[in-house]
Amino acid sequence: MTQTQPQTDVTPKRVSRPFYKRALASAGDFLRQLARRPLSFIGLMLVIGFILMAIFAPIIAPFAFDQISTGPRSSPPSIDNLFGTDRLGRDVFSRVVWGSREIIVIPGIATAIAVFFGAGLGMMTGFYGGWIDEVISRAFDSLLAIPAMVLALVMLATIGPSAVGIVIVIVLLYTPIITRVVRSATLNVRSLGYVEAARLRGESTFYIVTREILPGVLPALVVEAALRFSYAIFLTASLGFLGLGVQPPSPDWGRMVSEARNNYTRTPWEMVYPAAAIAVLVVGVNLMADGLRRIFRYEGQER
């Protein structure tokens, strides 16, 4: 391995640099590292591709996602309708393109919130220990004992299917998992010399957690966030497939697969493209997450 050692952000001499600069520097570093591994690079490109597709959907998609009769109903792929049309004559290509927004934004927001709460609770329980740790950890353990899909179905059936509902469900499902990961990472970092040193310097708890512990748990957190994001995409698509996703006529990929599956042999294009889009996006995110994991593991071994 001829790789240069990545900059480690946890060394005490860098503490004086503003946190956001360090974060940016390390983010840039991660991306460079990712780009160096072919598979991770492919993953990164796929994710970036989908994000661009989501941003530029109005330009890329020739039709609105809910416009019916864009061509003959249930017609196979053609020049006018690249991915064919569905039973309402809606353009499948446009729907897949527009659908990338929801499938990225909903799990993205949900994962971000879950990471925020998970990191906070994880560092708190890991740092303080004691009864706070006991109460929160046991509560989350009991939540984790219920299969995720069952819990999601029950919750969505109760609060009603909507985008906000899905975000709430994902946050509730993933916060405990992230909390657990961050908590164990915090336990490892807490006993390190520089944390001890900061404590002896008389730094405030807030300072210690954000400046000393957070950078230490960041690798674990980033990998976990990427993995959770890919699971969240799958969960969102699954809920859409089960009819508990975003409401029609939204171009929810999972719902599109579900609507098309009864006519699969007649109009395979209706089902194949959204299904492939889900698969490609999830594979992309997973490759990226895997790349992150490898980078951090390598770093961890060197340290």
Binding site: D66, I68, R73, R87, L88, A157, G160, P161, L242, G243, L244, Q247, P248, P249, R255, S258, E259, R261, N262, N263, Y264, T265, R266
Partner: protein, 516 residues
């Protein structure tokens, strides 16, 4: 076929021979036997269906159970494919003027498969047994007593008139059993008067029936019938296409599309009364309080387009009432089909509300494999043309019907299963105070007409009443019935004279024959 062979081996003891030295002999014997079994199959109608579970006619209610019972048993009267009443074990009947006494004259010289003769005691036994077992058909029969009358007659005495009594008597639960079968068990013991008798019943696998040469309606032209139990619909299609079965039913459009591409098969299509109801709350302060708004929704709905999208045009476009073409003359086919006119809808909306556009939320169950959600997406676009903007909320079917959403929502879609008689659905959902009055519509005139239809036994007078009800629905009803769904089946072209019943399990095979 292999099962037959294995069975024969077991019986003849061949299997007990030492395998090592007799493999060749066994194989040869198998070949001979299989050829002979195959030869017998030539004039046998083979039907592919899911396996029945409860073969007691008083209880079993699904298609495959009905199919089994329809083959073995007879009924006092037959309800035809066109919803008419035809004589069967009862040659004729008389209804007293007050509509409370039904006297059936039974057919002479009918025998059960075990050789015993059929008489009034068997009818009394059968109907008393329905009461004993609390069969679900009792709700349709109403309260009654049954006893043997003078000569070869049976007399039913009702506590109140029931214009649909004959339909209940001909329903699938009322197969006439032999009074000798006090310990009636299912399957193998089935002892009816029907055109076919059970030769062998292998639960979960198949039933073979042999023609009843002594059948009162004349010996059937088929040598026998065989039901082959295949749980997967696509496998049923495979079996049909490969020639293993001759008739399958309850197929999806996708499955039909596979069959249509092949030579030698005919797609069957029968209108049922299964339909979605798109309805508005009609009570005071609700979205549909103003009749003009109700009419606007009707005008803004393009039924042809929905039929094309969901059924490739195979469904029957509905009027705006639940009385479908399945109910024969009760269906008002004189009524002008509802037009699609979004501009007129806009005008009515503006006139009724004083606003440019009406906004609401359309709630519906996720039913029929996403078909309802698809219909909602189409409605949303159609209604937008008619100045009606709706958001769509799709609920899991179980949730929608169990937590009251389907009754509470101002604007919703409800799936109504096919009821065998028009009266049932009207009483359940559309008269004032009805149990499932989902549209909160309290129309006294409709209530009075429905009540009158319930006790009017004269078919002509009854038809008039139902037509009148349909007209009221068209004029001011708060519901839209975009279509009546078809039931689809497929049959090999070798089969002649098979007419699929709207309830496919009740398809009559007595007059079916095989051969080009």
């Amino acid at each position: 076929m292999f099962n037959n062979i294995a069975h024969l081996f077991g019986r003849s003891g061949v299997a007990r021979l030492k395998m090592t030295s007799n493999v060749v002999l066994v194989a040869l014997l198998a070949l001979v036997l299989s050829v002979s079994v195959y030869a017998q199959d030539e004039n046998v109608l083979v039907i592919g269906t899911e396996a029945p579970v409860n073969l007691d006619p008083a209880i079993g209610s699904n298609d495959q159970e009905a199919l089994f019972n329809r083959t073995v048993y007879d009924f006092l009267v037959d309800v035809t494919v066109d919803s008419d009443i035809a004589p069967a074990l009862a040659e004729s009947w008389e209804i007293s003027d007050d509509g409370l006494t039904y006297t059936f004259t039974l057919r002479e010289g009918v025998t059960f498969h075990d050789g015993s003769s059929f008489g009034p005691e068997d009818v009394v036994f059968t109907f008393d047994r329905l009461k004993e077992l609390e069969s679900s058909v009792l709700s349709r029969l109403g309260e009654f007593t049954v006893e043997a009358g003078e000569g070869n007659t049976v007399v039913f005495t009702l506590t109140q008139p029931n214009a649909d009594f004959l339909y209940a008597v001909g329903a699938r639960f009322t197969a006439i059993l032999s009074s000798d079968d006090m310990a009636f068990d299912t399957g193998v013991d089935a002892n009816g008067t029907g055109a076919f008798s059970v030769s062998e019943y292998v639960p979960g696998e198949r039933t073979t029936f042999a023609a009843n040469e002594a059948y009162w309606g004349g010996a059937p032209s088929l040598a026998g019938v065989e039901h082959v139990y295949i749980e997967d619909k696509n496998a049923q299609v495979d079996a049909l296409l490969s020639g293993d079965v001759d008739f399958i039913f309850k197929l999806s459009l996708d499955q039909i599309a596979r069959i249509e591409g092949e030579d030698g098969f005919t797609v069957l299509e029968v209108a049922t009364n299964q339909h979605p109801v798109i309805r508005l709350h009609a009570n005071e302060g609700a979205i549909g309080e103003d009749v003009r708004v109700r009419q606007a929704f009707k005008l803004a709905t393009n039924r042809e387009e929905i039929n094309d999208i969901l059924y490739g045009g195979r469904a029957v476009i509905g009027n705006n009432d639940p009385i479908g073409p399945l109910y024969g003359q009760f269906y008002n086919d004189m009524l002008e089909k509802p037009a699609y006119d979004p501009e007129a809808a806009c005008a009515l909306i503006q006139e009724a509300t004083g606003e440019e556009r009406l906004t609401s939320t359309l709630r519906l169950p996720d039913a029929f494999g996403g078909d309802y959600a698809l219909m909602a997406a189409a409605l949303q676009q159609q209604w937008a043309e008619g100045c009606i903007d709706v958001d769509i909320e799709v609920f899991p079917e179980g949730v929608y019907y169990s937590d009251g959403t389907w009754l509470d929502t101002e604007l919703g879609i409800t799936g109504w299963g096919s009821r065998p008689i028009a009266q049932a659905i009207l009483v359940e959902a559309y008269v004032p105070g009805a149990a499932y009055n989902e549209s909160n519509w309290e129309d006294e005139e409709v209530g009075a007409l429905v009540a009158e239809a319930g006790v009017t036994t004269d078919p002509e007078a009854r038809t008039q009443l139902y037509h009148q009800i349909s007209e009221i629905f068209a004029e001011r009803g708060p519901i839209i019935v975009p279509f009546f769904a078809p039931v689809l089946g497929a049959v090999s072209n070798d089969v002649q004279g098979l007419e699929m019943n709207p309830f496919p399990g009740l398809t009559d095979v007595r007059n079916v024959s095989l051969g080009q």
